[in-house]
Assembly symmetry: C2
Homo-oligomer: 265 residues x 2
């Protein structure tokens, strides 16, 4: 399971990863994960991986709830940043036991705004590449376990995502989510929700949330968390919402993931 | 020399590196490399490395001209992007035989403008972190070996650097170089030149080069290359300069690196 020192994933972040929820050997949102991986392969001009080999991984993850982490890198070689003429893709995977933070589904979470602004880089937007240092820096901004996530804006002040989750809100009768064409990761659960409900992709600043009736965070392993309180970076409360767990969004998402639809399930 | 799959340098680009020119066991610009590494350690809030152990590495590189590559990562652990409470730094190094592209010192080089624009991220600007996917994408833009480097602007159109070198030009009687406070890597040879000659740090667009009498690329392993021709991303020639190798800049820089000061050396 080790990688050589000269692996380009390590040297430059020159690769991609996916973290997939797997229940008793059955992957959830698999087609969305593989679609994003394919998109990343195209964007980075990586050699085409053996997707059929990937399809056989979930069955090898073992019983119960697991998270499969799959990583592909451009392998070794090249001169500095320049990729080798014929790169040989390297891939590795692990499966770990997983417990979602289930109390957050119905109690909701408190979140903060991060000071870090994401750099605008359309060439890397949406895909799940290995160069995630911005996310690491953003996640370092707070230590308080009562704060579940941090919201991120881009360098022009537009809402993008949370450090490891996407963001959806309900405003003026519709579900809205930030455009992810210039930075951020397009989560697979978000893509599934785009197919399941009518989702409006918007360029919006933080102030837009003042008009939101409800706000949620979501990803493909944790499901959907309603936000009940938003703080600024200094800890001052900006806004509160009643916990909005009986929404069609959470119903559809948890239906996709096999998670409970209400607190009594 | 392998790293585990769960190393955070591999997973997220959560680490730093330096590539140091070493001649017969003597490092060049060592204090600048260690100063940049220290700055990176502070910016990423990494645990303090054992710098005394690093000081002993050049002597172990072997005879002749070598490049020492030193990498430090935050090691393993943490929950997702969140670093572990007490991270254990991991470091690795290699030394490789090295031959600089010496013809370029006096013949000069042809370069192009890259289409990719660097994202603006002050928190990561200047340091040599492992999340270098923008540089990889930029270096993929051309295959023609006659093009030595590609110039990069930020998302607002300001000149920053080349994919693996810094940029200095001479204009209206002074040496100028792009500000590196919002993106780009602050090269150690550039920092040394800032100490050796009067260097003006400017926010400038590509059009500024039209007024330049001479333009150079530089880094701590290759030395200084005069630019003789600049193409746009489609290959159209934007500008030519006479090869400016008899400049105080190259003299000072090559003096630092022990490289020849003129073609007859």
């Amino acid at each position: 399971m080790a990688l050589p020192f000269d692996d380009r994933g390590l040297a430059y972040g020159d690769g991609l990863f996916e973290t997939v929820l797997v229940r008793d050997g059955q992957p959830l949102l698999w087609e969305y994960h593989m679609a994003r991986l394919r998109q990343g392969v195209e964007r980075l001009s990586l050699p085409l991986p053996d997707f059929e080999a990937f399809d056989r991984l979930p069955a090898q993850c073992g019983p119960g709830l697991r998270v499969l982490k799959l990583m592909v890198t451009r392998g070794s070689g090249g001169r500095g940043y320049r990729p080798p003429g014929s790169a040989e893709l390297r891939w590795r995977w692990t499966a770990s036991a997983f417990q979602p933070a289930s109390r957050r589904w119905f109690e909701g979470v408190d979140v903060r705004c991060c000071e870090l602004r994401l750099g605008i880089q359309p060439r890397l937007a949406g895909i799940k590449h290995l160069a995630r240092l911005e996310n690491v820096l953003a996640r370092q901004e707070w230590q308080d376990d009562a704060i579940a996530e941090g919201l991120l804006c881009d360098s022009e002040g537009h809402l993008v995502e949370a450090t490891a989750m996407n963001l959806i809100w309900y405003r003026q009768g519709r579900f809205e989510t930030p455009l992810l064409d210039r930075c951020g990761v397009k989560g697979t659960l978000l893509s599934a929700m785009n197919d399941d409900i009518e989702l409006h992709w918007v360029r919006a600043g933080l102030e837009t949330l003042h008009q939101a009736d409800a706000v949620w965070l979501l990803n493909s392993v944790q499901g959907v968390w309603p936000i009940r309180r938003l703080d600024d970076a200094s800890g001052k409360c900006l806004q509160r919402w009643p916990p909005a767990f009986d929404s069609p969004l959470q119903q559809m998402a948890h239906g996709r993931l096999g998670y409970p639809l209400n607190p009594d399930d």
